[in-house]
């Protein structure tokens, strides 16, 4: 893959991440049925549910990994692409890029939680957890940001602006 392709793929994935961010957070990711109540939970609703049920640390992790981090990743990637070819802030860009690579794997924690919940939470009439359409959008969002950061290799930071034209 040429550098140009990498940049193009990364940008395309970034764009799809931006598009997916809204449905991923607005459409319920799961339906929890407990005796006396049926709840559709979005990602943020899930965090709230975890928080109110007393699992504050878990809620914190899920909130960070599922909502804040994808948002920051989108911002960071946009920033990297905006400065592409420029010779400014190269050190900061490198650090940010390293951070993106590290944190990317954590973003799937919500999907992981959902799959565990769906598998475990099948207690017939007492309780059941069903995944909803939102989970696909969320999954796609996470994959888009992940690969967008993955395709963008650190050496591209040092690429001179004309090189793209060459």
């Amino acid at each position: 893959m040429t550098d140009r392709t990498r940049i193009a793929v990364s940008r395309a994935l970034l764009a799809s991440a931006v598009i997916l961010y809204l449905p991923a957070n607005a459409i319920p990711v799961m339906t929890i049925s407990l005796p006396g109540q049926v709840d559709d939970l979005t990602v943020l609703g899930g965090v709230e549910e975890l928080y109110t049920s007393g699992l504050v640390p878990v809620a914190g992790i899920v909130f960070l990994a599922s909502i804040l981090v994808p948002f920051l990743k989108i911002l960071a990637l946009a920033w990297l692409h905006a400065l592409q070819g420029s010779d400014r802030q190269r050190r900061a860009r490198l650090i940010i890029h390293g951070f993106l690579a590290k944190v990317g794997t954590w973003a799937m924690i919500d999907i992981f939680l959902l799959s565990v919940l769906t598998a475990v939470g099948q207690l017939g009439v007492l309780a059941s957890v069903q995944p909803r359409e939102g989970a696909f959008f969320f999954c796609a969002l996470i994959l888009s940001t992940y690969f967008s950061a993955e395709v963008y290799k650190p050496h591209l930071i040092w690429q001179e602006s004309p090189a793209e034209a060459r």
């Binding site: 392709t5 395309a12 799809s16 931006v18 809204l22 006396g36 559709d40 959008f137």
Partner: protein, 766 residues
Amino acid sequence: MNHHKNNPSDPIDHGEVVRVKKRSSAWVWIFPILAAASAGWFFYQEIDSMGPTIEVYFEETPGIFEGKTRLTYRGVEAGIIQAVTLDKELGNVVVKIRLKKFAAGLASRDTVFWIERPVFNIAEMTGIESIVVGNSIQASMPGGPPCLSFRGQSKPPLVPLKPGYFTVNIEGRKVPFLNKGAPVYHRGITAGFVRSKTLDATGNTIIELSIAPEFRSTVRTTSRFWSLPASRLSLGQHGFEIDIEGIEALIQGAISYDHFEREGMEASANLLFPLLPTEFAAQCSGSPLKVDFDDGRGLLPGQTTVNYLGYPIGFVETMQIDPSTSSLEATIRLDPSLDSLAREDSVFRIVRPHISIEQISGLDTLLTGAYISLEPGSSESLATSFRGVSSEGNTSEALADSGLQIILRADELPGLGNGTPLLHKGIVVGSVLEKSLDDDGMPILRAVIDHAYSATVSEQSRFWRVAATTVKAGPGVLEVEVENLKSLLHGGIAFDSFGAKGKTSEPDTEFRLYRTEAAAKAVSSPVRIQFKNGRGLAAWRTEVRYLGIPVGLVEKVETKNGAVVATVRLDQGNDDLLRKGSIYSIVRPNISLQGITGLETLISGVYIECIPGDSTQKTDFFVGRPTIESEDFLHGGLTIQLTAPETPITLGSPIVYRGITIGSIVERNLTPDSRGIVLTATIDRQYARLVRTNTRFWNSSGLQASLGFLKFRIDAETIVSPVGRISMGTPDSAPLDPKAKSGASYELFSAPEPSWLKWNPAIPED
């Protein structure tokens, strides 16, 4: 580049820079396009599936949440609650529901909305699914022009009428245990169901029944409807009987109907029938008969039966008080085939359980409740209005004539009343007629003794109460005594003259009613005994015992001049105890190193022990002694007095002779001149001979230890009698001095002279 190619001698191939054709990377934009398309498609689907938004007004909406609660129609999710708000006046809850597109038809005028919630009671269990999915709003019966605003119902709508079913209304005073959907039986077959249960304007319960078309012909104008309780438990002479109509009826109750072969017209729809309490009541469809009673005790409308020859043929339908005649009017219905028994001179008599000393009657009514007995007359003409007989005649009046009347007086008369039996030696000989207050406000009982037994009452008779149960506790004995069954219910009165002969009593003689048999027996003139301390004495309870046998009872305990005076009455034949010099002493539990005495009083309470004196004079006042070594007195021992200026010897100290206890100190006082102490000692009768006129007494208390050459000896007896001990010795003189007389006085020495210990006279037995 061509230069290099054309020069093969050049050993190094530097390659060739080829301008690669610029490949388009536009394909990468498929990712954002896919993302946008799928998101757009999803949102379009969501919006497309939405129907109109409707508003439903409810009184209250428990368990309804925005965004969570569903609208359900025929079990299908037809919409979702968008908002739950209150209207401006706070009088209603406004629920905004977004219908799904396929359910848009629900937005029509006739649709009924209600809140489905779990209902649990023994008769119905509905809305089970709401336990799982939460309360929901339900809709049904759409129809009519489109409409977006509805009024929600608080209850689910009635089961819709099915075609062909026809409606029968039945009316009852109260209809417990019947709910919507309860089955209606005709001869055991389910013919319909209860459609609704409402109150009409007059406050009667109206039950609407739906009867299936194929049972149309079974509902006749002569049909009678009765309710089947969920289950019936009847207790009769033949034991218990449980009657369960069916598992459905067990939960819901049911209604049954039949026309009992009395053919009538086929009933038209919406006819009103009365609801009868039982099948028996339904069968008794004869014309109503009015019977007036003075006393309707035990009659229960709907339950009390009318019996003829012991067999139920009718029942009491209603009862009404007629204030003008101050009587109770019972409406009775008989089995129509037996209506002919209601003749002009027929007698309706209430039969109730009746227990008296003469007879027990109507015992069957204990199980079945009172009933009305019909005794048909011989008249030809029928009647519908009767005068009932309420009771078996006034028994107490009859009784009063039948024997000797006496009056019993007491301070209080608990648990005694009319009919209380009078017992003489365990035989019921009479009964109490009435219980009243006399002119002075004292309770009196008028009692009657049967003529046959009137001779048993003499002027010497003593009456006492027999408690329903008596619990007697004594040493080693706990006795519960239950007099016969009747006295268990009422208590009783017993009397006896305890052997005293007397004239046969005149009518209306007054007698005193004693509390207990012991009190009644204690008939002597009062004897007063003064005690320093009356601890444990209780009037009517503390006994006087002689040789351990109760011979009297304390009647009164009072304080007088700083002392306790107990007034005691003794049983007959105990005049000896009134002799001057008789000794009375309170026996209380006493635990000391010398022994444990009076232990039985822990259970029976203290008692007064007495010992008759030997004087011939009699008195009725005694000074009680604080302690009594009764056995000593019983043996009629010698009483002597010992004087000393000062002594540690205390009451109860033993007097020993050669280590044998021969007597003890029973009294300890100051000498009349207050210069010394005088101890009164009793010497056991068998040892009285040991005490001679020259006998010496000394205090041998204290640790007596002698240190021998090889042994160390402590007189153990000094340890167990820390109260002190008196020893005595008599000098060896050839002819012994004469025996001491009762009341003799001796000096008590504080220590023996050594020579005294060597005295060893031979004192022969008498």
